[in-house]
Amino acid sequence: MAFLFGCAAITVITTAGIVLVLGSETIHFFRATGESILEFICGTQLEPEAVPPRFGILPLIWGTMLIAIGSSLIALPIGLLSAIYLSEYAPRKLRAVLKPTLELLAGIPTIVYGYLALLLVTPALKGILEPIGLQVETFNALSACIVVGVMIIPMVSSLSEDVLSAVPRGLREAAYGLGATKFEVSTRIVLPAGLSGVVSSFILAISRAIGETMAVVLAAGLRPQLTFNPLTSIETMTAYIVGVTSGEASAGSPEYLSLFAVGMALFVITLTLNVISGFVLRRYREVYQ
């Protein structure tokens, strides 16, 4: 009992510690630079080395959103459809092979996805898009979206498949007994019954895309800009952190402190996502026995 309590306590204390450090360093950052939170979040100029330095992280937030949205557009539909296929349609033997195979995708180191983007996806995009007159940069958001999307498919498919196949057989039989087709049973009984789990898998996958670093740095580069063109280079919040830590910002400098402020912003975004998902779950879930 005491041991278990100890373990739980360590988790809580660690989390609290991290938030505390992030918080206090973030306050230092705002004191040192004299920026307001509004300038920080909505400013479009990110020039840490300029005199005076400017820290508007909107381009980073935008870059992060671009990757999250783009990769979700790929991963959520494909992941959900594969989950439905695996749980409702696939013959048992095929499923026994397919599911672990999909999960293998999740075991590939993210850095590998990064150079696959650089070495395979981007050249392929160039091959397809440049003949029709679209300029593709070597570092571009689209190829990052594609590889991050592929990376998070197994999170969606595997977690969703677990909840879908946990929907009681009695519910399916009841629906079939009323003359429902397999499609109606899958989409109108099984999916709504497992919706809360499916939404959680979405949120987890999106959080993962937001937090993804290495693949995005390698694929999309480090150029903070507000652009709607996914064929150009962008910079995400995580990529900025990598950029600064691997540069020569000295401890205590505004650039160094900005790491914590960006980290804090990232934390707030993920937290908001979790709160929203909690709300969605409570509001829409169908409880079964």
Binding site: P168, L171, Y176, G177, L178, G179, P192, Y288
Partner: protein, 279 residues
């Protein structure tokens, strides 16, 4: 209806003769799960607008037989059947017969109440809606709930979850949901086994009401219930030839009017079962 009429109904050869008193028939029906034979050469004819009970010891294939009638066993990997089943004279396993369409005409109520995790209203409306019901849904929901003797208990809370009801109410909700699709036959697999005596009595009364418009086939372990509600009873047993093997094969040993089966059974095994010496 006289006893001789029912006997004639049961004995009548299957076939689409006009005014055929049987609605569902099986001829030499055998069912396998994988390699194990679960039902052997069953030949019976279920009379229209009557309640037919199926009794017999556990594992003798009552549910299996019931699930053949609406091709629910199609959903079980490895299940296979031989022989013929007809519904209204038509082979239900023939090429081009759509199991989905068949299940609209042959509804099913399960042993464990299994309402959808949706509102009471949606539970009743769902089946009708997917089947393209065009009329007034509120009317249909009310009519079906009244028919299932549940309306008075739920009319004020149609938008509450079906899962908030008691077990007996849930089972009547499942019956209402089946009625809303307007099937011709209702298969009930031990519909009262999870219910208390009062709910059981309500469901039994209900079956009696429904008989005028529907054909009901009910599996039950409760012999008093079979006796109370049914017109015909099929007594099923494990085939002695299969005993001792790992395989448990079910056969129908007697299919007679309920009154006769319980008072003057023709088969010694029926007698042994109903007097409690087997099973």
């Amino acid at each position: 209806m006289s006893v001789s009429e029912t006997v004639a109904a049961a004995a009548a050869p299957a076939g689409p003769s006009p005014g055929d008193p049987s609605i569902l028939t099986t001829e030499q029906l055998s069912v396998w799960y994988g390699t194990s034979l679960a039902l052997k050469e069953i030949t019976i004819a279920i009379p229209r607008n009557r309640i037919t009970a199926m009794i017999g010891p556990s594992g003798c294939g009552k549910s299996t037989l019931l699930r053949c009638f609406n091709r629910m066993n199609d959903l079980v990997a490895g299940a296979r059947m031989e022989g013929r089943i007809t519904f209204d004279g038509d082979d239900i396993a023939a090429q081009g017969v759509d199991a989905v369409a068949l299940r609209r005409r042959i509804g099913m109520v399960f042993q464990k109440p299994n309402p959808f995790p949706k509102s009471i209203y949606q539970n009743v409306a769902w089946g009708a809606r997917i089947n393209g019901y065009k009329g007034d849904m509120d009317d249909l929901v009310e009519k079906s709930l009244r028919r299932a003797a549940l309306w008075d208990e739920v009319k004020g809370k149609l938008h509450r979850s079906g899962l908030e009801l008691s077990g007996g109410q849930q089972q009547r909700l499942c019956i209402a949901r089946t009625l809303a699709v307007e099937p011709e036959v209702i298969l009930m697999d031990e519909p009262c086994s999870a219910l208390d005596p009062i709910s059981t009595a309500r469901v039994e009364d209900l079956m009696d009401d429904l008989k005028a418009d529907y054909t009901i086939v009910i599996v039950t372990h409760n012999m008093q219930q079979a006796r109370r509600v049914s017109d015909m009873t099929a007594c099923m047993m494990l085939d002695e030839a299969s005993n001792g093997n790992t395989q448990r094969t079910g056969i129908v040993v007697e299919f007679s009017p309920t009154e006769i089966l319980f008072t003057k059974p023709n088969d010694p095994r029926t007698e042994a079962y109903i007097t409690g010496r087997i099973g």
